[in-house]
Homo-oligomer: 238 residues x 2
């Protein structure tokens, strides 16, 4: 098993926790998840059972060792703003923290992805983790949209869309065995969400102030038709 399949970040010293994760994944891959017991893991890592449970409440938790840290990072990030940031862009940036955790260690992330697909219990665990990320984003948006029309509805819908876009790009990358640039794929996916929910683009658009677009539309025209027309008109000419 290569050293890149354990979770310490580059430059960090391996710890007992890391040794337990490495031992667990080695056994999960060799024998299967269900066939591996906590006793097997601690025997391979050369530590006692109590050490395992000091770090991980259950065998499932050793499969997702970094989510608690990442959730804490996300919450801290969302609380760190001064409240003037554009909210959709802000939760997109928060979602990027999750991607970064996966991208830090492609080998480990791909192994876990395959394992999770095979074990229904791990899939259920993952759903509960994803739900916690989504709640963290939604709670932030609810605070930011408080008092606005349909504020909680918009908060919940935007949070779900951000998580779905993030996971679409993340899973494509994991399915490709961690090849390519996951950050670019996630940027593109989140860009779609930003455009759907009326947030401005991340980068300022170069503009020519003399260049004017005129759209003439019947008042009764559905908004989506008008937007389609503008999108076509605003598209880069080439």
């Amino acid at each position: 098993m290569s050293s890149s399949s354990t979770t310490p970040r580059r430059g960090e010293k391996a710890t007992m926790r890391d040794a337990l994760i490495a031992a667990a994944f080695r056994l999960f891959l060799e024998r299967g998840y269900e066939q591996t017991t906590v006793d097997d893991i601690v025997a391979l890592a050369g530590v006692g059972r109590r050490s395992f449970f000091r770090y991980f409440p259950s065998k499932e938790d050793v499969v997702f060792p970094d989510h608690e840290r990442c959730l804490a990072d996300m919450t801290a990030f969302l609380e760190s703003g001064d409240g003037t940031e554009e909210p959709v862009g802000r939760v997109c940036d928060a979602a990027r923290l999750v991607l970064r955790m996966y991208a830090e260690n492609p080998t480990f992330s791909v192994q876990r992805y395959r394992l999770t697909k095979q074990v229904p219990g791990l899939r259920a665990y993952e759903l509960s983790v994803v739900w916690r990320y989504e709640r963290a984003l939604a709670d932030h948006l609810r605070r930011r949209l408080r008092g606005r029309r349909d504020g909680t509805l918009r908060a919940d819908v935007i949070a779900a869309a951000v998580v779905a876009a993030h996971n679409n790009a993340l899973r494509s990358w994991l399915r490709s065995d961690g090849r390519g640039d996951p950050e670019a794929a996630v940027d593109r996916a989140l860009g779609y969400v930003r455009s759907a929910f009326g947030a401005g683009p991340a980068e300022p658009v170069e503009e020519d102030p003399e260049d004017v677009v005129v759209v003439v539309s019947r008042r009764g025209a559905p908004l989506w038709r008008v937007v389609q027309e503008i999108e076509t008109t605003l598209a880069p000419r080439g």
Copy 2:
């Protein structure tokens, strides 16, 4: 326990399955979910253990007795179209089937909502059910958007947004103890998703063909600003 807290739909005859659900909920409410065994349930219902497991693979499944039928109804509905329906509206209509299942029996739905909030295992079960609905919607959208730019991304994001909007309205209704009109709340929530993802309104807008709106905008203006401007202009005058 009132008869409305069991699941048979109005006009249907109660069955052994319904008797098991009624017995289970009576015990869950009296003693708590964890404190109730399958043996307790079958004793109260006056049937054998094997009858229970003929209908429900586990104790958790008796809490959500109608989701399998509803998932099957949703899949059948999505497959029944001729492929020309506007896809976002189509998955919104599919989501309404779930709402209808809850609305058929407000007392039972509110009891289950309270129970699910208290028992982490049931919350996890519910997440997996919600995920299956979301996959059914996303799979339909992926087929409909196949070959379109970012088709799978858009499918996943729209499905997640539809589910989040539906659940936002559903939960508001459940929190209010099943008072008010949940269908109107869900229509409003789904309308928000339809507008975000460029689907036309469900009802044709009354229009005056002579009434024209002119929007003049710099070519470099971000789309969201242009849309905001149009939304303000198109808003009903009053």
